[in-house]
């Protein structure tokens, strides 16, 4: 019972990090996705490089860089802030690419139909293209969200008191016994349980997408 309570005490933090950094990524990903699709080549290259760097450098390196590297007398960053900023930026990189793929997957005929009707660019983008792209990408976004939930565990390495950190704290007092493994196993099961609702939602969205668009 005790290990379960200890691990559960980290659950709110896990959810908090996941939700906040996802929100940051979801918003920040929009301008980046537009940057990836812009006709201005230098802008596109710069954004592309930024996205590739965000995705290509391990999460733990970003977190350490933010946590230990970015402290000056004028600027302090706590472990939680570092985790949220780090995961948020990385999410923005991944989500930007997902958004871009969604925009690209909207059939060309839709752009053409809107143009042929003379619908102004902004209206056709937000009224015609974006709603369809949103449906196309929603399963990928759900998959990413599940991944992010799991990756939030890496925040434990910079001492953010989420589930794995709590599990670790308990396990260290019971080295080499079953009680030393139990909290990790409990945390693992909790992650699986947590991802189930998102996965189910994603499958529902996916099915709806098929019905609505195809």
């Amino acid at each position: 019972m005790e290990p379960l309570l200890v691990v559960l005490s980290g659950l709110p933090m896990t959810l908090f990090i996941t939700v906040v950094s996802f929100a940051i990524g979801a918003v920040l990903g929009i301008p980046m996705a537009l940057g990836l699709r812009t006709g201005v080549a230098p802008v596109r290259w710069v954004v592309r490089l930024a996205v590739d760097l965000l995705r290509g450098i391990p999460m733990i390196v970003w977190l350490f860089l933010l946590k230990f590297g970015l402290s000056t007398p004028a600027f302090r960053i706590t472990a939680l802030e570092a985790a949220i900023v780090g995961l948020g930026l990385i999410s923005a990189g991944y989500l930007a690419d997902i958004y871009r793929g969604g925009l690209q997957a909207v059939p060309k005929g839709q752009y053409e139909a809107a143009a042929a009707l003379g619908i102004p660019g902004a209206v056709s983008f937000f009224g015609v293209i974006v709603p369809q792209a949103a449906r196309i990408v929603s399963p990928s976004i759900a998959t990413y969200l599940i991944g992010l939930l799991k990756n939030s565990s890496i925040a434990s390495t910079i001492a953010v008191a989420e589930m794995v950190f709590m599990a670790q704290g308990y396990a260290k007092q019971n080295i080499n016994t079953v009680a030393g493994v139990l909290p990790y196993a409990i945390a693992g099961v909790l992650y699986i349980l947590l991802s189930i609702p998102v996965a189910m939602l994603s499958r529902r969205l996916d099915a709806n997408l098929r019905k609505a668009v195809i």
Binding site: F68, S71, P73, A159, K172, I175, N176
Partner: protein, 273 residues
């Protein structure tokens, strides 16, 4: 009263400080980063304990300061002091030339010894034992003062760890044959463990490992240039020594009283390589 009583400083009333007008991050309060390194200090969910904590409390009292604690690690403590996020840190912090590039140290308070911990029956007691007893892997924490010397002598036999907890775990599990830990930490970690033998390494100095010849001194780093805080520490530590409180405290935590024999002139561990 210090600091003129009515101020919002929050300093203790009816108290005469050793040093007046001490600059701290939060006026009237000493913000201490606590590194988990029992028995020297452990954060303990916000109510820290340990030898260093005992000393820090005495120093703060003598200077009419409140104390606030934050969790810290060796990786970020110096950075945090240098950048003014905390006033000082505890956890068996050695006075070294590298650290002096980033922070200032007051006078030292006690010596740090090095401890060997190995399986009972192996009983490593000296550097020469390592080869003699067929040790294959030696665990040492990242940032430990003797790491560089040991790597020079033993090369790939040395395995480094992000913190002493993993290191302890691996010795118990048998993934490393011995570890070289701060003596106090080793004593504390393996207290009551019948399988592990802890030895005080400085008893058998070896000139290849500087820390064994010249045991490092421990003190409380503070932000570079904060002379008022430096003086407060100096005076506070002096008082503790003069009051003869060091040896009893060492004893209380199960450590050799010889660790109180600091040098007349502060010894700074030189930067190797």
């Amino acid at each position: 009263a210090c600091g003129g009583g009515s101020g919002s400083s929050g300093a203790k009333a009816n108290c005469t400080p050793l040093v007046s007008n001490i600059t701290t991050i939060k006026s009237g309060t000493l913000t201490v980063g606590v590194i988990d390194q029992p028995p020297y200090s452990s954060y303990n969910n916000g109510s820290p304990t340990g030898m260093d904590i005992d000393f820090i409390k005495q120093i703060a009292d003598a200077n009419c300061l409140n104390v606030e604690y934050q969790q810290a690690s060796f990786a970020n403590a110096m950075q945090a002091i240098a950048s003014g996020q905390i006033d000082t840190a505890t956890g068996d912090i050695n006075v070294t030339e590298k650290r002096e590039q980033v922070v200032d140290f007051p006078r030292s308070i006690y010596l740090e010894g090095v401890g060997y911990a190995s399986k009972k029956g192996v009983d490593v007691k000296s550097i020469d034992d390592i080869d003699a007893k067929g040790i294959k892997t030696i665990g040492i924490g990242d940032g430990y003062g003797w790491l560089a010397d040991m790597q020079k002598v033993f090369g790939d036999k040395v395995k480094t760890y992000p913190s002493s907890v993993e290191m302890k775990q691996d010795l118990e599990a048998g993934r490393v044959d011995m570890i070289m830990e701060a003596y106090g930490t080793a004593v504390d970690e393996f207290k009551g463990n019948d399988n592990i033998a802890v030895e005080y390494a400085n008893k058998n100095p070896d000139k290849r490992i500087n820390s064994l010849v010249e045991p490092p001194e421990v003190s409380y780093p503070y932000t570079k240039g904060n002379t008022s805080l430096g003086q407060a520490f100096d005076k506070g530590i002096e008082k503790i020594i003069k009051d003869g409180k060091v040896k009893p405290t060492l004893k209380k935590y199960g450590l050799d009283e010889g660790l109180a024999e600091i040098r007349d002139k502060q010894y700074v561990v030189p930067a190797t390589d």
